[in-house]
Structure formats: C-alpha cells, structure tokens
C-alpha cells in the first residue's frame, strides 16, 4: 500500500470513529453469540451423553408386574442388550416436613443389595452410600429444592398407611431423573410435590410388603448414546414386545418415551436449531451491518476515489486501502468476540443446569469448540474484509472521468422517471429519491427487514410460549387434584370430603393410561381424562376458540395428538383402556401444551355400558385460596388417597422449569432488539450521512427544516413499511419454526403472535428508525451553509 494511502486509512479511521466503533461492536457481538450459543448446545449434548453413558442410562423401560426369571433371561438374551435390571418401584407419601406444609410423593426405587446396578446408576454428589438399614439416597435436585441434607430423617407413609422413618445417607444424581418429571403427563420437574429416592431392594421389598417381587425392568443397550441406531432400537423393541407377550398390562417405553428422556430429547432437538439459528442470525446481522456501512462509506467517497484514480492510483491499491478497514474490524472484533463467546457459553450451560437439571450434571464439561469458534472468526474476518473491498472494487471500476462528475442515478429510466406530477412536492421528492438511489434504498430496506425478522422472531417465540402455557395453566379450573388407589364408584368417591373446611367444589374424574389407534393403525400411548360434560373442572377451549365438552358424542383430543397421529375433527379413533376398546369420533382439538391427553365426556363412557355405574380414581377439588395448604394436608390423610397435587405449586414448578426457555428467549429477544437498533440506527445514519450534501443544498435553497425532516421521514417510513411487510412474516415463521423443534409426543406448541406484539414490534422499529434520523438531521441543520458555495468537493 502506498504510504500516503496508509496515512489516509488511519486518518479515515479516526475521522469516522463513531461509525467504526458501531461496526466493531456489531462484529464483536455477532461473534460472541455465534461462539456462545451453538457451542453451548454441543457441549450440553455431549455432557448429557457423557453422563448417560457413565451412569448406564436405560434405553428401555418395561413396567410389568411380577416378571418371571425366564422372561428376564429372555430380555437379557436379546441381541444388543447389555444389561437388564429388575426393580421395585413404589410410590410413597413423604409426610409434611418442617419446610413444607403438605405431603409430597416420594418415589422409592430399589437398587441391588450387594452390587452396583447395571442400569441407571446413581452418582453420589454428597454424603455417603447406602450402609445401614433404613438408609436411602435422595435425588439431589429434590433435596436442593427442599434444603434437605445427608443425615436428615424423612417420614414416609406407604400404601398400607404404615409410616417409617428413613435416613438420608447421601444425595445422588441419576440419569433417569436428569429432568425429574413424574410421568408422561407431568414431564417437567415438580420438586414441590414429587421426589425420588433409592433404597436397597430387600429393605424396600419388605417395607412395601412385596418380598421377591419386581414391577419394573430397565434395559441398557450396548454402545454409546451418541451413536443411536434407530433400526436396532426398533428390533429390540419388537423383541421386548414378544418377550412380554404373556403380560397384557406390560408397557414398554423407549428412552424417548420416558419423561426425562423425552424432555431432554426435545431440548436437544429444539436447542440445536434455535442455537444454530440465533448464532447464524447474529453473525449474519453483524455481517449485514458491516456490509451496509462500509458500502455506504465507499459510496460517499466516490469523488475522492475518482480523484485518486485520476491521479494514477491503481484499482488494486484502492481496494487494498478500503479492504484494510474491514480487515482491521474483523481481525480485532472477531478476536475479542471469540473469547467473549466462550465465556458467554458458560451462561447458556448454567441456565440449563439451574432450571432443567436443578443440580449437578456429573458429565458436565464446557470444552471450547475450537473449529467452530475459528469458523466464526473466519467468517467474520472474510465477510468484513469483503465488505470493505467489494464496494471499493466496484466503485473504482467507474472511469475517473465519470466518477468525478455528480453521480447519475443507476435506476432504469422507466422506473426513475415514473410520472409523479400528481403527488405533492414533498412526496414526489421522496419517491424520486428512493427510486434513484437504489443502493441506498435497498440497503435501508434490507436493514429494516433484518431488524423486523429479529424482533418478530423473538416476539413469536415469546407469544407462543405465553399463549400456549397461559392456556395450559388456565385449563385446570381447580386447585387440588386428589388421586385414589384404585377405581371407585364415581358417586361415592370423595363423599367424605364434605367434612373438610375450605372446599368449595369437587368433581370426580377418571385419569389413566390409554392407547389411541388411528385408522391407519398408528398407535399413541397416552393419558385419558374422563370428566363430566356438565361444568367440567377442566376449562378447555378448542383451537378454534369453542368450548370443549359441548356434547357427549365423542372425544376432544389435545393438539399434540392431532399433530402426532395426523388426525382431525370428525375422524375416528380407537381408544383402548382398562381392557376395553371403543371407536370414538373426534369432536374437537383443544389447545393443551404439555402432555397429549384425550378428554372423554362421562356421558360417552356411560353410553358404552348402559346401566353400569361410573368409576373414578381422581377428585378435582376447588378450595378457598387461603385454605389450600390445610385442605391439601387434610386430603392427604383421607383413606385411600394416593396423592394430592397442588395446582398452584405445580404451576410454580413448571414456571421455574420454563425459566430456562424464558431466559434464553429474553436473551435472544433483547439482543435481537439491540442488534436491530444498532442495525437500523447505523443504516439510517449512513444513508443520511450520504445525503448530507444534498440536504444541505436544499437548506441553502430555502427548504425549511420541517420539509427536510418530512422528506427524510417519509422516505424512511416507506422503507419501514417495505421492511415490515417482508420481515414480519419471515420473522414470525422463523420463530414458530424454532419452537416447533421442541415438539414431541407429550409436548407441543401452536404458533401465536398477538396484536399487542405486532404493535409493540412495529413501534420499536419505527422508534428506532426515527431516533436514528435525529443525528443525521441535526448534522444537516448544523452544516455550515457557507461551505456549500465555497468548496468544490462539498
């Protein structure tokens, strides 16, 4: 590079330091997010898989009563099976502790007496292993929530109403409860009402009065978690089905069909596209800003470039000169961003640990993803270098003789000379300007499109989560859910609840596992909810906004069933439950985000067996707000009650779990908005800078400030309109697409973008654009008009 040009580079950098700082920050931010998000997702997945494999996480679970030794051997003999462990799983009730006012379900799981379990091993986090009779190991995330420590004593009541005291020997992590969801209906952790503990088999069998009995088998296949082989899984599943042919009530779950495995899988499936999308979006945003700003800068140097070319400076020398800007920005911004990105990735991983795991993840490692980080750095470096060099290359191709003259609009005559005589002067001026400066107009529009995409994809994420979960919370129009051991006549169940003070209403329900089979034979194992169609305590609304349970001619399915089975209103399903099978017609699709329940009106069930008495296993209870804890405890003491769930508590737990997504969404959203503001601000600013001379001439000719502000504002308004029309639908769909990655058999979103969000989003865009024009307009007002008539290069 020529020495004088090098001096010009430095001088220009100094003169435009505000702009350069803006571009630099964008590049740095873009690289930071690129290097933080996707690598965090990769490391999380690796950490989870590492944990799974270290602790021999199960691939299949079979819930089966009293499997024979032969059956167990048959399972172990299936090709691909590494080990199969029979277990006893017992739900008990943990008596109110000092820290809580109500009973909690404690699931007790057996571990082999004398050896380590071959499947779903515990990892001791605190305390010591099982040594003495009466010891148990408690799930760490549950213990953290209730502030329980090794050495504490728990009072546990079993189904036969005997109560024992057990001592916490240690706190453990277990891969089966990485996400401590209770079952397929409640797939997220509810530590306020549900905990898990492990005991030696002999202790537990004796306690439960089931010596020598098992009710659960967990199966681990050979090979690492990251090399999942779907075909082999299918073969194993088929073999398992054969092995348990003689057990009609046996239910086989693959890893993905269990609460934790499914949620983790949904997270991974959802996180990867989301993290990759936002990584890419931020980097692209940064590249777009850099490109626009450097292109505008070179454009405004048109005459100077012409002069330099006229003086004999070669194109190469010129390109090198402008390339230096981009290169310096990319080199330094990319470097700083890469380092910040790695540091930032800890934040993403920690929100996962805090909200999803709720404690320790034994296989946790955040390894710098060097190739990926280098990729981001490389992209930034190359794109910002090109952003500087390319416009200079194009610009310097203009013969100096032409470049030294005022720029002539490049738009074809037919467009730029559209007769506009009918429009008022200001508007005519505006449209001419837009049409005749296509580079500037399109970069402004591009900026607005990119900004609208970022803002609206975040808003779509936000709204969809808010509406889907809001509706889900609202669906439970009761305060407590009481589950009984076994089935009872619906008219007598809970007759004794009247004695409890504070209860304002009750409704019996039958809630239990059911299989749905569609016309093609596709089967979904899920949960059925049988409820009175007269004022049901589930307040369900269909996706079309109608009330569910409007008749008893058929069933209402949750939207997840619709998606999974591909069925719709009017279709027929076969529903299998309690040893029966019935064909039912779908009456409506209800919005129900978590789980994939089917809602069955009581009247329909009665019609299947006329004259019989309805059965129930659940009572939905409404109570006065201040009485809820007392009612909950009283209910837990009632004979035959297996568990009592507090809906408010459960909502609180779910919200805690969702904080992970909320935190990410807020982060994406706020950085999206920052990036949008930066992008729009810089684009508008650059475009005004470029027009400074022109606007100043207008000032000199006697245009008022208002007229100038009006033209500029109109121009921007038109560009914002174009940007919004294109960017909003794109952003909205991108947001939906991202959230739909999280959809699974027991979880699913329907996309929503609400009117207030449209208004807020557009207001943010407009406000940014108009704020961005202020400094440009100020500069025009402040221009020394005397210079206009004095300097040639003005």
């Amino acid at each position: 590079m020529l020495k004088s040009l090098r001096r010009k580079t430095i001088g220009d950098l100094r003169a435009n330091r505000g702009q350069f700082l803006a571009v630099w920050l964008m590049v740095t931010l873009g690289t930071t997010f690129f290097g933080a998000m996707y690598p965090a997702a990769v490391n999380l997945l690796d950490s989870v898989f590492r944990t799974y494999d270290r602790l021999e996480y199960m691939d299949f679970q079979v819930q089966v009563d009293s499997p024979s030794e032969d059956t167990l051997q048959a399972v172990r003999a299936i090709p691909g099976v590494e080990s199969a462990e029979p277990r006893l799983v017992v739900e008990s009730s943990l008596q109110p502790m000092s820290v809580t006012e109500h009973a909690i379900i404690l699931r007790l799981i057996s571990v082999p007496d004398e050896r380590e379990s071959g499947v779903n091993r515990n990892e001791l986090i605190e305390g010591h292993d099982l040594r003495n009779s009466g010891d148990l190991l408690l799930l760490e995330s549950f213990a953290n929530y209730h502030d329980l420590k090794p050495g504490d004593t728990l009072r546990v009541t079993l189904a036969d109403q005997t109560t024992v005291e057990l001592r916490i020997a240690g706190l453990v992590f277990n891969p089966e409860y990485l996400v401590a969801g209770r079952n397929r209906l409640v797939t997220f952790p509810t530590p306020s009402t549900f905990g898990v503990a492990w005991m030696p088999y002999s202790d537990l069998a004796e306690l439960a009065g089931q010596p020598g009995e098992y009710n659960d088998i967990v199966v681990r296949l050979e090979g690492a978690s990251e090399n999942k082989d779907a075909e082999r899984d299918d073969r194993v599943r088929l073999a398992l089905t054969t092995a348990f042919e003689d057990y009609p009530d046996a239910v086989i779950y693959s890893r993905l069909e269990t609460a934790s495995g499914g949620v983790i899988d949904a997270n991974i499936n959802g996180n990867f596209p989301a993290m990759a999308f936002f990584s890419g979006l931020f980097l692209t945003g940064a590249a777009v800003i850099t490109g626009i700003l450097l292109a505008r800068m070179v454009e405004s140097e048109r005459q100077r470039i012409g002069t330099m070319r006229a003086m004999g400076i070669t194109r190469r020398e010129l390109v090198t000169h402008y390339l230096a800007f981009g290169f310096i920005i990319g080199l330094t911004g990319g470097f700083v961003g890469s380092i910040l990105g790695y540091l930032n990735s800890f934040w993403f991983m920690n929100t996962f640990l805090d909200y999803i795991v709720g404690g320790t993840l034994p296989g946790y490692k955040n390894i710098p993803q060097i190739p990926f980080i280098l990729l981001g750095y490389g992209i930034v470096l190359v794109s910002s270098t090109i952003a500087g060099a390319y416009p200079a290359w194009v610009q310097s191709a203009t013969p100096p003789g032409i470049a030294l003259r005022p720029a002539t609009p490049k738009t074809p005559n037919a467009i730029s000379r559209t007769p506009l005589g009918f429009l008022p002067l200001v508007l005519r001026q505006t449209i001419r300007n837009l049409l005749r400066a296509p580079g500037r107009s399109s970069s402004t529009a591009l900026g607005v499109i990119a900004g609208a995409m970022m803002v609206f994809s975040s808003l779509a994420l936000w709204d969809t989560m808010a509406v889907c979960f809001g509706d889900y919370y609202d669906a439970s129009a009761f305060d407590l859910q009481v589950t009984y051991n076994g089935l009872l006549p619906a008219d007598s169940i809970g007759a004794d609840l009247d004695q409890i003070d504070g209860i304002t209403g009750t409704q019996p329900a039958l809630i239990g596992p059911a299989a749905l089979v569609d016309a093609d034979g596709e089967r979904l194992d899920t949960i059925a909810v049988v409820l009175s169609e007269n004022e049901p305590f589930f307040d369900l609304t269909t996706v079309d906004g109608d009330d569910a349970f409007s008749n008893s001619d058929g069933v209402w399915i949750s939207h997840n069933i619709q998606r999974i089975l591909g069925v719709g209103v009017g279709d027929t399903l076969t529903i299998r439950a309690l040893g029966q099978a019935h064909d039912v017609t779908i009456q409506g699709i209800v919005l129900y985000t978590v789980g994939s329940p089917v809602f069955v009106p009581q009247g329909l069930v009665m019609a299947w067996a006329p004259g019989s008495t309805a059965v129930a296993n659940t009572i939905l209870v409404r109570a006065n707000d201040e009485a809820i804890p007392a009612v909950q405890n009283a209910l837990a003491q009632m004979p035959g009650v297996a568990m009592v769930e507090n809906i408010q508590q459960w909502e609180k737990d779910l919200k805690h779990f969702l904080n992970y997504f909320a935190a990410n969404t807020v982060l994406f959203g706020s950085f999206g908005v920052i990036l949008t503001i930066a992008l729009l601000y810089n684009t508008v600013n650059a475009s005004l800078r470029e027009r400074r001379d022109e606007l100043s001439i207008l000032r000199a000719l006697g245009s008022t400030r208002r007229e100038i502000a009006l033209t500029v504002t109109l121009e921007l308004l038109i560009m914002v309109t174009v940007g919004v029309l294109i960017g909003v639908p794109l952003g909205r769909e991108a947001g939906y697409w991202l959230l739909f990655r999280y959809n699974t058999d027991f979880f699913g979103y329907i996309g929503y973008l609400t009117m207030p969000s449209y208004l807020v989003g557009i207001a943010v865009l407009l406000a940014t654009v108009f704020l961005a024009e202020i400094p440009g307009l100020r500069a025009v007002q402040k221009t020394d008009l005397g210079q206009i008539s004095k300097s040639q290069s003005f």
Partner: protein
C-alpha cells in the same frame, strides 16, 4: 424591491491559531433594480460577501439591511424564509441535486417559491438548454450545469439574485448569452442582481461596480451607461 446596504461588515475565520479576515469592514449600498458586479481577485472575500447577503453565513459584526429588514438579526427560521422567497443563489460550483434531472432541479426551486415563478421549461430554454432538460447533472458539462444552476435561481423569480462567478465554467459565447438573459430579466422585472467575478471585462455591463481587495471595498463605481453583454471584450 428594496435597497441593500452593508455597514462595516466583518467576517473572520479561525484556522487553528491563525485568524483569517475574509471581510474587513465592508460597507456598500446597492439600489433596487441594480445590476451590480463585485470584482476582485481570488481570495478577496467575494464569496463570503455573497454568502452573507444570501443568508448562508452570518457576519461577525456590522449591519446588513435588505430594505428595512436586518438580515444580520434574523433567526434561523427567518433566514430560511428569506433564502426561499427573496433570494436566488447561483453557486460557484453549481450544487445541483444529482438525483434530479435538469428540469426537475429547476422545477423544485420554482415550486418552493411563493412568488409568481417562471415556467421552468421556458427558463431552461432561455439559458439554451431546451434539449438537455431530461439529463442528470452527471450527464452535463460544467458550463451546462452552471446554466441549470442559473435557470434554477432565476425561475423562482426572486427579488434578489446572487451569482457567484456564474460564467466561470463557460466559453465566451455561452457566457455572453447567459449574461444577456440576466441583464434582460433585470430590465424586465427590476430584480436586483449581484454578480461576483474576477473578470474585469464583465464589470462593463454593470450599473455599479464594487471593487474588492483583501476583504475591503476598494471603490464603488457608478456606471450610467453600461455596455451590453455583446459589446464587452472578454
């Protein structure tokens, strides 16, 4: 039509530690309908003088009156209105809007004026650009651009026309044509013209010649029998 008078107008510029005096106590008077020429070598302060008269720059001291309105006391908004309705400025370096055609540049200023403006097409034809109206400034020669700038200033039919080296980029014949147009308009409408030049030959056509040097008015000569543009010896 009003009388323009300047009394003891000063203007200095600060360039780092140097103070440059562009106008050093300028006093002069131009009668309504005058065709005045400001003559002086490069750097003598002519453009500065014109800028101050045109409301593009403010003086550091002294008084500038247009009739009984004091330009030096005008607010920024008043100055804008003044520039818009009272003054037609012909810039030394044209300053056309590059994205507007010749005709659009002229129309723009005609539309901005609230006086009875001339037809922009007529005005362009008068300066000899009838066949270049749809060209963009970048497609015109320097002299042609200058003529568009002249048409732009004249079309809005202002009371005062300030022209900074208006023939600087033209050949003799075109220059004479342009001066002819200005002189004719001056006679037809009694508009006041202040024309700046370093070319003493042009001074011959003026009613009044203001000679400047080093920021000072050296003398003012009243010329009762000015030449016609065609008669001057360029």
């Amino acid at each position: 039509m009003s009388q323009i008078s300047m009394r003891d107008v000063r203007k200095t510029y600060r360039m780092g530690n140097n103070i440059i005096t562009a106008l050093d106590g300028v006093s002069l008077q131009i009668e309504p309908g005058d065709f005045a020429v400001v003559l002086g070598p490069s750097g003598s302060g002519k453009t500065t003088l014109l800028n101050i008269l045109g409301g593009l720059e403010s003086a550091d001291g002294g008084e500038i009156l247009n009739g009984d309105e004091s330009i030096s006391a005008m607010s920024e908004n008043k100055l804008t209105t003044y520039r818009r309705h009272q003054v037609g400025f012909i810039f030394q370096f044209f300053n056309l809007l590059p994205t507007l055609t010749a005709l659009e540049n002229v129309s723009l200023s005609a539309e901005m004026s609230n006086r009875r403006a001339y037809n922009p097409v007529d005005m362009l034809e008068r300066v000899g650009l009838g066949d270049r109206m749809d060209h963009y400034p970048g497609q015109l020669s320097g002299g042609q651009q200058q003529r568009v700038a002249i048409a732009r200033a004249l079309a809005k039919n202002p009371a005062l026309i300030l022209a900074d080296e208006p023939t600087g980029s033209m050949d003799v014949a075109t220059g004479i044509d342009v001066l002819r147009v200005m002189r004719d308009l001056n006679r037809e409408t009694q508009q006041t013209f202040v024309l700046v030049t370093h070319n003493s030959a042009i001074a011959g056509i003026a009613d009044r010649v203001i000679r400047m040097g080093s920021g000072k008015v050296q003398n003012i000569i009243q010329n009762d029998s000015p030449f016609e543009p065609e008669e001057i010896d360029w």
